[in-house]
């Protein structure tokens, strides 16, 4: 079987197994899988009770990977995450790995920990390694962090710094389920038999797929489109849309364009193609850029959302800079 068909099968099975437990959120599930195969991390944002934690736990269930959950609290210390050297009976210090040494890490309510603790994850997320007492400890691949945060309870929270946010491949927003989905939630969660997801994929298959995915070709006009989208988020550039210049303080970093292209590659395979199209790039633009655009005071005061800015950018930036042959 060709890789494309193989991948499509894996993806469909993953989605089907997760959908057994999670009601709705089909796009969110798809984007989580895209981030997983792209080698990125996901920040889930939503109101309490929307199933953020359940989604991560379900994903861990369907993947044959080690899973750990870290509940972030204000008194959580970095060593509580990454581990520490402990003196044992023979009076020798030995490294005791923290919960970060798992393949799927759920950082629940990440914005409740202090910045110091939050930044303990920086190295782990970017380098897939942890340095303790001068010793670098490699994390086992695939390493996938899924953090959750609550957008309304701001008291006693520490908003993630831009550097931390930039490490997340996607930021996904969970919206409130609609009427039919709520009915379905009742059926699935209040009956004596609770549905359980089965394991579909192991770490090795994920790693192989990640390599294959990177081989998907991207044509120059598509890359150019991704680059122009990123540049359009920068308010200091005259070519940016007027909305960006007015309401944005900082635009997306180069990690943004990496996210766009890698995410688009996975999306193209999901769509059954061996090449990336403009539509793939557009599909991943919102989750890839919404946490990388920082609004200025005026934007905040106007109650704008970064999604509005991204929608405006997608409208303003044409796929092709110049029409190839005008009649």
């Amino acid at each position: 079987m060709e890789f494309r068909e193989e991948f499509k099968t894996i993806f469909d099975r993953l989605r089907a197994e997760i959908s057994k437990v999670i009601v709705g959120y089909e796009d969110i599930i798809e984007q989580v899988i895209i981030a997983l195969f792209s080698g990125g991390h996901v920040l889930l944002e939503g109101l309490p009770g929307l199933g953020k934690t359940l989604m991560v736990k379900t994903l861990a269930d369907v993947l044959d990977l080690t899973f750990s959950r870290i509940q972030f609290t204000p008194d959580l210390m970095p060593s509580d995450i990454i581990g520490t050297n402990i003196m044992e009976r023979d009076r020798a210090f030995r490294f005791q790995p923290g919960p970060v040494f798992a393949q799927i890490v759920l950082a629940d309510e990440i914005n409740r920990a202090t910045p110091k603790t939050q930044s303990a994850l920086l190295e782990a997320m970017q380098e897939h390694s942890v340095t303790v007492s001068g010793t670098i400890h490699k994390l086992k691949e695939p390493f996938f962090v899924m953090a959750t945060q609550n957008p309304i309870e701001m008291e006693g929270t520490y908003p993630l710094p831009e550097a931390q946010l930039d490490r997340f491949f996607f930021k996904l927003k969970l919206n409130f389920p609609d009427r039919e989905e709520l009915m379905s939630i009742i059926d699935r969660t209040t009956n004596p038999e609770t549905p359980r997801a089965e394991k579909v994929l192991n770490g090795e298959a994920i790693e192989t797929s990640k390599i294959e995915i990177r081989g998907v070709p991207v044509a120059t006009p598509v890359k150019d489109y991704a680059v122009r989208l990123i540049l359009a988020t920068h308010p200091e550039l005259e070519t940016s849309p007027s909305m960006v210049r007015r309401y944005v303080r900082y635009g997306a970093s180069p990690r943004g364009v990496q996210s766009l292209i890698l995410g688009a590659k996975v999306k193209s395979l999901i769509e059954g193609r061996y090449n990336v199209s403009f539509s793939d790039v557009r599909y991943v633009t919102r989750p890839a850029l919404r946490h990388r655009i920082i609004l200025n005071f005026e934007g905040e005061a106007e109650g704008l959302d970064t999604d509005m800015i991204i929608d405006n950018i997608l409208e303003e930036v044409p796929e092709l800079e110049n029409e190839p042959v005008k009649p």
């Binding site: 294959e212 081989g215 120059t220 006009p221 061996y274 090449n275 009649p327």
Partner: protein, 447 residues
């Protein structure tokens, strides 16, 4: 990959054909503008020019570079191939199973797709604006004509009409010279007046009608009947032509005639007066209508009666005929009438220039100046060198005779003798007239 390139080449050809038709249409729009202008101004644009856009369109559609990448993007876009063609083209030759699979898959898809859907014929954006040019141009030029030349042909058309009539008149003159040189001379003057746009076509036709009458009244035997019929026929044709063309100066002249009495409402009345302070001083039309012509002005006219008396100038002519249409109303009529009588008594029927003394005050208006119309009127009666009646004018031909005008002999004041050759003298004689003039003078000598 060969199939992909072949498909791209076919699409490129189609793109060029669309470009060609767009260019062709655009160039024809420009050309149509030229033809519209030609329609109004007779620029003599040949219909061979219609071929020019074809060559230019071919050139412009071929000169534009269209590379494979551009074509690939167009194919992807028009056939909804999600950038498969451009990616295949870019990554062609890469040793990757994914790329190879992509190319074969793209070629398979192209086989099943119709090239008709790629780059369908469409107009370039600016064409919709350019298409407005011909109707707008036509409308604006029509409007221009209607506003500036209402009910008339354009100056260019009119010019050509006038020149054609002039040529007809020359032909007629040539025919008349052996038979009736006097009428030939009248035609010559008429032609000049028309060329200088000093008379209307109506007036021209009137003159021609008079000439026709004179020919009709020619005693039998004095003119060759064939020549007479030919001349009459030509005259009819010329009149017909003048009727058709409706020369525009009519409007201008009529306007000027209407305006002149108002202009001449100042106090200056003496003026030069009518040059031919003649025996038939009052033009029938000249005495007509000018409501703005006030009694006061007439009074001023009357004040110059004495001068008219002295110089043989009819005041009414000055204020009426000369200034084209001013009517002397009842309050002032007494002086005008009187003056007419006196003027006619004192005037000379032979002197062409009845120079007058200045009237009251400085003359700064055009009252009394000779207008085109009056010249025509006078010409009708007093064509230089052509006697109104037999023995009426005695001609003095430069260097050829001793006879002088009776007016000179009679001692008419102040008027220099106007000899018949004056209209000819000093003018550069066009080639076509030379023979005619020679014959004319030969005949005069004979007489």
């Amino acid at each position: 990959m060969r199939e992909l390139n072949k498909f791209i080449s076919r699409v490129r050809l189609k793109i060029r054909s669309v470009l060609f038709f767009n260019w062709l249409l655009e160039l024809y729009i420009y050309l149509s503008a030229i033809y519209i202008v030609n329609y109004f101004f007779h620029l003599d644009v040949s219909y061979y020019y219609l071929l020019i856009p074809v060559f230019f369109a071919i050139f412009l559609s071929l000169v534009r570079p269209i590379d494979n990448r551009d074509v690939a993007i167009i194919i992807d876009k028009d056939l909804g191939l999600d950038e498969r063609v451009i990616t295949s083209l870019e990554f062609n030759g890469l040793d990757s199973p994914i790329v190879k699979r992509l190319i074969s898959e793209t070629v398979d898809m192209l086989r099943n797709l119709n090239i008709k859907n790629v780059y369908p014929f469409r107009f370039r954006k600016r064409l919709k604006y350019l298409l407005l040019i011909p109707p707008l141009l036509f409308l604006s030029l029509s409007l221009y004509q209607n506003v500036f030349y209402p009910g008339e042909v354009s100056p260019q058309v009119e010019e050509s009409g006038v020149s054609r009539i002039s040529m007809d008149l020359i032909t007629l003159q040539q025919k008349l010279v052996p038979e009736r040189p006097d009428l030939a001379k009248r035609l010559e003057v008429l032609r000049k007046e028309m060329e200088e746009k000093r008379i209307t076509s109506k007036e021209g036709i009137n003159i021609l009608e008079e000439i026709t009458k004179e020919i009709d009244n020619t005693p039998a035997g004095s003119m060759d009947s064939n020549a007479m019929a030919d001349i009459k026929k030509t005259l009819e044709l010329v009149m017909e032509g003048m009727n058709d063309k409706g020369m525009s100066p009519a409007t201008d002249n009529e306007n000027s005639r209407k305006e002149e009495p108002q202009d001449s409402s100042g106090e200056g009345t003496g003026g030069k007066g009518m040059e031919a302070g003649g025996d038939k001083p009052v033009d029938e039309e000249g005495g007509k209508t000018s409501p703005s012509y006030t009694g006061e002005e007439n009074t001023s006219g009357a004040m110059s009666n004495e001068q008219g008396e002295q110089t043989g100038i009819n005041e009414e002519e000055k204020s009426g005929a000369d200034s084209a249409g001013g009517q002397i109303d009842g309050s002032a009529g007494d002086s005008g009438e009187e003056v007419e009588k006196e003027g006619s008594l004192a005037g000379s029927d032979t002197v062409e220039e009845g120079g007058t003394l200045p009237g009251k005050g400085e003359r700064d208006n055009k009252l009394g100046e000779e207008t085109g119309r009056n010249q025509v009127q006078n010409i009708l009666e007093y064509v230089p060198g052509i006697a109104k009646e037999e023995g009426g004018i005695k001609l003095k031909i430069k260097g050829s005779g001793k006879e002088t005008s009776p007016a000179v002999e009679g001692g008419t004041q102040g008027a220099p003798v106007k000899s018949v050759e004056d209209p000819v003298e000093g003018e550069s004689i066009p080639y076509e007239y030379k023979e005619m003039i020679r014959i004319y003078f030969e005949r005069l000598k004979g007489e």
